[in-house]
């Protein structure tokens, strides 16, 4: 009798254990809807992981609870920060690679090198992307996607300006060769405004809120953001002045509205994608956003986009100069306080597969992170992904440093002051240089 009870209890315990479900929390962000695969891929990967666990007769299963932020990065960063600081952070965090510097320095992330060596899947990641998540000699994230940031041009509007089809088709190459520069773009834009092809202030738009895009001008101006010797951030007065001057010129020449910064994203996307704007700097993912969320959605989707839009690098400043783009790979990171870091790492290995990578790339127009993904037929036959691939040869990154947040914010404030006419480019450079040296002190080199 007693033996049976014990046996029953043992069986019960065994069953209970077999049913143990470990829940992993994962926070992800688009903010654009099209990138929801950053969350759903994790859920799908967990299903595959569970199949593997069944096969191994492991005593537990995994469940992923995801949240997907669709508002903005400020909001997401605030929530993350407070979560980190109050021990309530999710096991898995998806964020921009550049956050690694800040978060690793704060002690919020677990180093992943051991896991990366453990799982074979990670060997397929494009090597340069590992650089983007390496900070102080350790790797803190698993690349999730990457992208480039093209200059979109409206082919229909260019045709209205009198451009021939051949001229329009040649524009990306002209920009790539450094023959069509920002000075040329300004001329075309002014002409478009004068001829009434676009409204004043609608000839060239950059993003309407803070972000990484603005360093494209700085890079095009020959600036460097980090001293590769000592890792200090670098503020080049000459390059900043050149970038600020360019933006001031764009506003002065009526290409860009002085109220562009602060516009809401949906106004921005609808205006650009419906053909009110001649040139716009955005990201590859914008292509998917336009097709699935904005004006083109009800007007032919991708076909409409192909008919009306072309894309190229961000032009060089001067003839013969170097055109640029910028990449901000996203990465999955593991919180240092996670109780299930091993399992989280295994899940990340599971999600780092060509099938998931492909799905995300096709849906969101981001670029894959695995070499194996590029070999897939669907990717090979995807015209957009193939056409933007060369942009990566011209790409740049933001530096990883705990001071980057302040640097990025100050630099952007300088831009907003210049565009709204509150400071001259010279004054803005002085303002940013002063603010940065005050805040970053020894961690900054002003050139």
């Amino acid at each position: 009798m007693k033996g049976r009870v014990v046996l029953a209890i043992l069986i019960f315990l065994g069953l209970a254990q077999a049913q143990e479900v470990i829940t992993l929390q994962a926070w992800t962000i688009g903010p654009e809807e099209a990138s929801r695969t950053r969350a759903t891929n994790l859920v799908a990967a967990a299903e595959e992981l569970n199949k593997a666990l069944v096969a191994e007769k492991a005593p537990y299963r995994v469940k992923v609870e995801t949240s997907f932020e669709t508002t903005n990065w400020d909001n997401y960063h605030r929530r993350l920060l407070l979560a980190f600081q109050s021990n309530k952070a999710p096991d898995i965090v998806q964020s921009a690679h550049v956050d690694v510097g800040t978060y690793a320095d704060g002690g919020y992330l677990a180093p992943l090198d051991n896991y990366i060596n453990e799982y074979a899947q990670f060997k397929n990641v494009i090597p340069t992307l590992w650089n983007a998540v390496t900070y102080k000699g350790k790797r803190w994230g698993i690349p999730q996607d990457t992208e480039a940031r093209p200059l979109y041009f409206n082919k229909t509007l260019l045709a209205k300006l009198g451009w021939s089809q051949a001229q329009i088709d040649a524009l990306p190459q002209q920009i790539r060769d450094g023959k069509f520069t920002w000075q040329d773009l300004i001329k075309v834009g002014q002409e478009a405004v004068q001829k009434g092809v676009v409204k004043p202030g609608y000839a060239y738009w950059h993003r309407p809120v803070n972000g990484a895009d603005f360093f494209e001008y700085y890079y095009a101006c020959g600036g460097s953001l980090q001293d590769s010797q000592n890792g200090k951030l670098v503020f080049s007065k000459a390059a900043s002045l050149c970038a600020y001057q360019l933006l001031a010129d764009l506003v002065k020449a009526n290409l860009t509205s002085k109220n562009l910064l602060g516009m809401s994203w949906d106004n921005w996307h609808n205006a650009v994608s419906s053909g009110e704007v001649l040139f716009a700097s955005a990201g590859t993912w914008t292509w998917a956003q336009w097709a699935t969320q904005y004006y083109p959605k009800d007007h032919g989707g991708y076909d409409y986009l192909w008919k009306n839009f072309g894309f190229a690098l961000q032009p060089a400043i001067k003839p013969g100069g170097k055109p640029v783009t910028l990449s901000q790979p996203q990465a999955y990171m593991i919180w240092s306080g996670s109780k299930h870091a091993d399992l989280a790492a295994r899940l990340l290995a599971m999600v780092t597969q060509a099938s998931f990578d492909e799905k995300h790339a096709l849906q969101s127009a981001h670029l894959p992170v695995l070499r194996t993904t590029y070999a897939l037929p669907e990717i090979k036959s995807n015209e957009f992904l193939q056409d933007v691939a060369y942009l990566l040869d011209f790409t740049t990154f933001q530096p990883m440093s705990p001071g980057w947040g302040q640097y990025g914010d100050s630099f952007f404030r300088g831009i907003s002051a210049v565009e709204s006419g509150q400071l001259s480019p010279q004054d803005a450079v002085g303002f940013v240089a002063q603010e940065l040296s005050q805040k970053l002190k020894g961690d900054l080199e002003v050139q």
Partner: protein, 297 residues
């Protein structure tokens, strides 16, 4: 002694909450303001003494934010008090039910959740076809972005006007009708009665409303956060309290400055305490205190 322990029992829960969420935070704000606490230094902050305050003094944006704060407080205050007065006076002329209906209408924005209230503004100010303003003027633009200050002041003003309206209304009701009759008998016009009789009697309520609202406007940022978030462009509508919030909680690139934010908050805390103490003086604290009714035996 036992009597005091009874009092202690009654006071305990309230005091606990006040200590936890008022007094301790005040002290903590002052302490944090002397540290370099931020995202990266969270686990190992160090003392910077007056460093954050020095940074504020030297920062180029400080004068701009101070200017914005003054502009916001003064313009909104004028709207609040002026509109409150106007509403109170006009509704006093109307038949009681109509007056009440108007007052309820003007109270509505105040009880509407801030998010919904701002949604309405965003809707009215949106680009065509949804935006009413764009529709009426035939000029399709986002009006919040186009004239952020007008929107910030009006949106806050419509909320704030109800405060003055209600206070002035009860003050007007308290005016003895003899006074007004006397004025009417003397042949005073409506305008003259208002000017000569009503307004002088409203002097104290107006002073009180102005004093009270100055302080709350100085520290309120919720509607600005939701309407313009301090923009568009370069600190266009960023006021001091919003900036403190931004420093500590909001950063596109993710490095939040708790120490600096606390220093900005501490400035408000000090202003708040000093000004409240002055108000207590002006509005005669002794009178408010009175004697408690305790058992005589």
């Amino acid at each position: 002694m036992r009597r005091w322990s009874v009092a202690a029992l009654f006071l305990l829960p309230g005091s606990l909450l006040i200590v936890l969420f008022f007094l301790l935070p005040v002290v903590l704000t002052l302490v944090l303001s002397a540290t370099n606490l931020s995202t990266t230094t969270f686990s190992h902050p160090s003392w910077v003494g007056w460093g954050n305050y020095q940074e504020l003094l030297q920062a180029r944006f400080t004068p701009l934010i101070l200017k914005n704060t003054l502009k916001y407080v003064i313009l909104t205050l004028f709207f609040n008090v002026g509109m409150g007065l106007l509403l109170a006076l006009i509704t006093a002329f109307l038949p009681v039910r109509l007056g009440d209906a108007f007052r309820a209408l003007w109270l509505l924005p105040r009880i509407t959740a801030s998010v919904v209230y701002v949604l309405i503004w965003q809707g009215l100010a949106a680009v065509a076809p949804y935006g009413l303003l764009s529709d009426l003027t035939g000029n399709s633009q986002n009006w919040i972005q186009q004239s952020p200050w007008a929107v910030v002041v009006l949106a806050n003003g419509v909320i704030g006007a109800s405060f003055g309206m209600l206070l002035f209304t009860s003050a007007i009701r308290a005016i003895p009708s003899d006074l007004l009759h006397a004025a009417a008998v003397d042949g005073a016009t409506t305008w003259q009665s208002i000017y000569r009789v009503v307004l002088p009697l409203l002097r104290w309520p107006i002073l009180f409303v102005s004093a009270y609202q100055t302080l709350s406007l100085l520290t309120s940022f919720e509607y600005i956060l939701l309407l313009t978030n301090g923009g568009p462009g370069f600190y266009s509508t960023e006021v001091w309290s919003l900036s403190a919030y931004h420093q500590a909680f909001s950063n596109y690139f993710g490095n939040a400055q708790f120490g600096l934010g606390s220093a900005m908050a501490a400035v408000l805390v000090v202003i708040g305490v000093v000004v409240s103490l002055i108000y207590l003086r002006v509005f005669n604290f002794k009178e408010l205190l009175g004697e408690p009714k305790v058992e005589v035996n």
